[in-house]
């Protein structure tokens, strides 16, 4: 591969001029520029990335870590991230942490090695080395969270109001006449689950239905949806409605409902969360909470770019709008 020296020699100019042709073409005379471009094309020159990065201390890359890339919710957020990043001239380094701390730390090390200018993490944990960085540099640390807002983290973030969304789901079910509601949460260590649970409890209490609430803890997977919903359905005083904290678990719930010879929504109403692309093609079409996934992606990138451009002075925690999408999986309870 040709280097800048080769181009300079071929074009009969200095390397400085070649460099300027790319980074500040207005400083170089048109005939010179053309001469250089000709040499560039002739030799098929592309500036070496490592050299540029070493000199400028910038990589033009964003590291994005995600707990599970095969989850359609996350992959849509990533799409948004990728799109916004590309538009700003950044590319995306992807890290699938698989919910494992060891992998999170591996990617944290990558970030410290300066393999990326910024980090977006879509999980709820921030490895210690990075937390230290945040503590030292404050709001100018180029680290941003998506989806999992937790005040203690001290990083900017973009997310929906999970508590309110979950409360709205419960209101919807109560309004339909349900009294015995089962809830399948995700792991409670993540704010995404604990916030939603708080919303569920608040709504139940407002309606005086807290004691009729049944709860099971899932892990957002389809399989855990089958299992946990199954347990709720098998208890005495079977709930007439089930609220799963993810659409995938709701898919599993549908299966559990069918396995017991019950019908949704006639016997059991079902609500999911996320509104993944598949939700409206399930049978029955799933009532769920729609998150602005791509927008979350755009927003976290914007927050990060603000920090990188030194435009951000204080933390920003952006709450984006969600929407309860009522479809065919919820109905009044059986008589």
């Amino acid at each position: 591969m040709a280097t800048i020296q080769d181009v300079a020699r071929d074009a009969g100019v200095s390397t400085a001029t070649v460099s300027r042709v790319f980074s500040a073409p207005e400083l170089v005379l048109e005939p010179t520029r053309l001469k250089v471009m000709e040499a560039v094309n002739r030799l098929g020159y592309e500036p070496n990335f490592a050299a540029k990065s070493l000199r400028t201390l910038r990589t033009e890359k964003i590291l994005v870590t995600v707990p599970d890339i095969s989850n359609p919710f996350f992959s849509q957020v990533i799409r948004g991230v990728e799109e916004a990043a590309l538009a700003a001239g950044y590319s995306v380094l992807l890290g699938d942490t698989r919910h494992e701390e060891a992998r999170e730390e591996q990617y944290a090390a990558m970030f410290r090695r300066k393999e990326a200018d910024g980090l977006i993490f879509l999980g709820h944990r921030l490895p210690d080395v990075l937390a230290d960085m945040v503590a030292a540099k404050g709001a100018r640390t180029p680290i941003v969270n998506g989806c999992e807002f937790r005040p203690g983290l001290a990083v900017s973030s973009a997310h929906i109001d999970n508590e309110r969304a979950a409360a709205e789901v419960m209101e919807h079910l109560y309004d339909l006449g349900h009294t015995r509601v089962g809830v399948v949460t995700g792991p409670l260590a993540s704010p995404i689950s604990s916030d939603r649970l708080a919303g569920v409890l608040a709504a139940a209490q407002r309606r005086g239905r807290a004691s009729a609430l049944r709860m099971a803890i899932g892990d957002f997977s389809i399989e855990s949806g089958v299992r946990q919903t199954g347990e709720l359905l098998d208890e005495p005083g079977r709930p007439t409605a089930v609220f799963c904290f993810s659409d995938e678990m709701a898919m599993g719930a549908l299966e559990a409902i069918r396995q017991r010879g019950l019908r949704c929504p006639q016997d059991v109403s079902l609500v999911g969360f996320d509104d993944i692309r598949f939700a409206q093609y399930l049978h029955p079409q799933l009532t769920t909470v729609s998150q602005p996934t791509e927008q979350i992606g755009h927003e976290v990138v914007r927050l990060l770019l603000d920090i990188l451009a030194d435009r951000a002075s204080a933390l920003q925690n952006v709450t984006l709008p969600h929407r309860l999408v009522v479809r065919a999986s919820t109905a009044p309870p059986p008589a």
Copy 2:
């Protein structure tokens, strides 16, 4: 951030020794190594990636381009890639090309700039600049394809035997007694579609059913599944079975079947392709072709690493095993 010079000074050794502590610890005396490690920890040193990369001309990164990352099939392949890459000390640069040539070229340029040591592309197109590279360097070019084998590309690849898999699907349907079969393909420019179509045609001819075949061209999306299947179902001489070239289109097909008051599989049998995680949770559970997605991911990484380590002399086109998974969406045609 501390540099190797800082560490060397702090530990009272030369930078060469510090470097050796990381890259060849067996060459340095234990007390010296400890002294250095102490300094490393004290200063929180991490080797600067750009500097290392400039010197070694390696990035330890693999660029992976994918036509649509929100497609669960691809995201599972990527998971496999990511896992195998990480195990070998590589990290993954993700490029979502959105089926757009412009983006494919953007990522091709990244690769030429040496932002990654190797390229895995899961689409079917290879931008010209890269095709030129392949033409020039032959089998040692670190570019590998996943899923979309096409002999003309002259790169190593890992994929299933799409033609045979599609033929098996047709055999299955014919064995059940179906005669009028509708097929919803993907864009025919991609081998993934044309190979499967070839298999469909071959099987139909063997059974003397070629004239009863109906075909519609989709784009692998759910929506196109609804639309194209709908058209097939609305034609006179409605097919009693529909074979969609992706599970997503099959999900759409289910919707189209329902919209017409038909039942699957009693009135119309349905087969998908890919066996994405959701296929077995649809209702009815979907008959489909299971692809070893993560294994494809592992395999393309292995092929690439072989090239990077100079162990690969000739092209390798690996065919991995698929499996027809018969579930509840296929049954004999109505009497």
